[in-house]
């Protein structure tokens, strides 16, 4: 399906996110690609538009008790709980490797307060190799932080504060677990975000009725994978209608067709998530197949197919 027998047509795949220019629109989603080092033996990083390592917090976090994942019909429930070693460890142990990779690096951060976000953004601003920040204001599996993803006023204020402390392009990662995702996107734009990315996982529950227990150690979790794609497409379309900054589409992408569906709905870039777990080279294969798909719509530039959806 994704093999091209003829030479790929000359198609411009570049995308701008604020001052950052991505070589192509295919990124890998935070939390689904480790810190990239884990995938080194399997993936050709130079073929990716960029990498988002797992979200980091200011202090180390143990994360949630296991079980942390459970598979559902064409989907995955997770409640990892932002298990990470903290900002300092990231800067000394993870960043040097990530910065050396031949692709763009977008660092994902989460804070419990505006101060934590701004402090982290400030420290990462000067760090060599960091091309942009994604503010994870949408993790459903920890308390705190997600407030910035459900209240437009708080979201806008957070972006404003981080913007004032940091020159890097800022991406606000949004949750689908709100009534009006377009309002959240507008708030992020008003606060100074260079792009919004969505969706993070869908708040969900899996149960084992025989044991009368939740499938996850945390109780509630977040759903990802092919089963959430239609929700994600709807959110991306609504956000793209609402803002003029780029929208980055995430949610259930597991084929070239999925990526193109997000593009026509208004996604200037896409992130491959759960699919990395069983097919780590999917993202690079999608990137390689995009020129032919863009050409199929009669376009010479990726950006010319973005938002082409005609709604009745």
């Amino acid at each position: 399906m994704m093999e091209t027998t003829t030479d790929p047509p000359a198609v411009d795949l570049t995308v701008s996110i604020g001052s950052l220019s991505l070589a192509n629109p295919v990124l890998v989603a935070s939390g689904t690609f480790g810190y990239a080092r884990e995938l080194a033996g399997l993936v050709d990083f130079s073929l990716l538009g960029g990498i988002l390592p797992k979200t980091i917090t200011r202090e180390p976090r143990k994360g949630n008790p296991p079980p942390r994942t459970a598979e559902t019909t064409a989907g995955l429930l997770n409640a990892i709980g932002l298990d990470n070693d903290g900002l300092e460890h990231f800067l000394t142990h993870r960043l040097p490797y990530l910065a050396s990779l031949p692709t763009s690096l977008i660092v994902s951060i989460a804070g419990r307060s505006i101060e934590e976000f701004t402090e982290m953004a400030g420290e990462l601003d000067g760090a060599a190799g960091v091309d942009a920040l994604e503010l994870n204001i949408s993790c459903p599996n920890v308390s705190g932080g997600v407030d910035y993803g459900v209240s437009p006023a708080r979201c806008e204020e957070l972006l404003r504060q981080v913007r004032s402390r940091c020159h890097l392009p800022l991406i606000a990662k949004l949750t689908p677990n709100v009534t009006r995702v377009d309002e959240m996107a507008r708030a992020a734009e008003a606060g100074g975000a260079d792009a919004v990315s969505l969706i993070n996982t869908v708040s969900a529950l899996g149960v084992d009725w025989r044991r009368c227990r939740s499938l996850l150690g945390n109780g509630l979790g977040g759903l990802s994978g092919p089963s959430i794609k239609p929700i994600a497409l709807r959110c991306v379309w609504q956000a793209a209608q609402a803002v003029s900054i780029p929208v980055i589409g995430i949610g259930g992408i597991s084929s070239l067709d999925d990526a193109m569906e997000f593009a026509v709905c208004g996604a200037s870039a896409i992130q491959v998530g759960t699919a990395n777990y069983y097919d780590p080279t999917l993202a690079q294969r999608i990137a390689a197949s995009l020129p032919a798909a863009v050409a199929e719509l009669g376009a010479h530039k990726w950006m010319d197919v973005v938002g082409k959806l005609q709604m009745p």
Binding site: G41, K62, R94, Y278, T281
Partner: protein
Amino acid sequence: MRKSGSEDAPFLPDHAGFWQAEIVEQCRLARDTYRIRLHAPELAALITPGQFVMLRCPELRDPLLGRPFALYDTIDDRDGRPAHVDIVYLLKGKLTHLLPKRSAGQELEVWGPLGNGFVPPSRAQHAVFVAGGIGQTPFVALAKELTGRRRYGRPPRVVSQATKVTLCYGARSAEWLAGLPDFEAAGCDIRIATDDGSRGHHGWVTDLLAELLETADVDWVATCGPEVMMATVARMTAQRKVGCHVSLETPMACGIGACFSCVVPVKEEEGGWDYKRTCVEGPVFPAEQIAWEV
């Protein structure tokens, strides 16, 4: 709380590959238990006992992710080169119920070798394996290696030989006991316990270990199976100051260290504990490192 060691954790997937592997054959070993033989020469050459692979049905979205399975054994071609990988699986959920319907010639996606596997101590005279249910699968290859019957890895790794290898194998009842001829051929002295007394000792497999620890010079214990069983084995061996390794079974979404779903609480050198990923820092751990009480 720092994940001490995780930055130094071996990047095992560096040595792993993704393959479409043809099914060579399948056979039923015991109740709900099957052996599947995959044609995967590269994997067969690399993998060592206690390591695992992820298996997945290509093109399916349900089941979506791969599932972890321990190496059962590798099989050579006519020229004596590793060619096939044997996996023994118990019918459990979505993937394992699909597998028996797949026939020879069809392909599965397989990635590996994954995890650290067993590294037997150099001075083990008498090695004892304590297996509960399907937890028996890693021990055929390990027994063959310890008794000098087969070598694994590239280049084939050198393991100091044990003079005696005993398998203590517990199952619900006799009809679930799988692969006994394989363990015999691997040179194991086999002791059996069943919950219903239909074969061997009527009771816990750990009773068999207690008897061995009492009467024999046991140098090393390796265990795999239900967590309560492994925790008991860990406690018993600690009391006797006998070295013990456990092979843990946690849910895994990726098997390569990318998702942080497969964690277990591991004690830290500086005190306290932290979650470690069983797929890259395990699945085999020294028993005394696991914080069973968490």
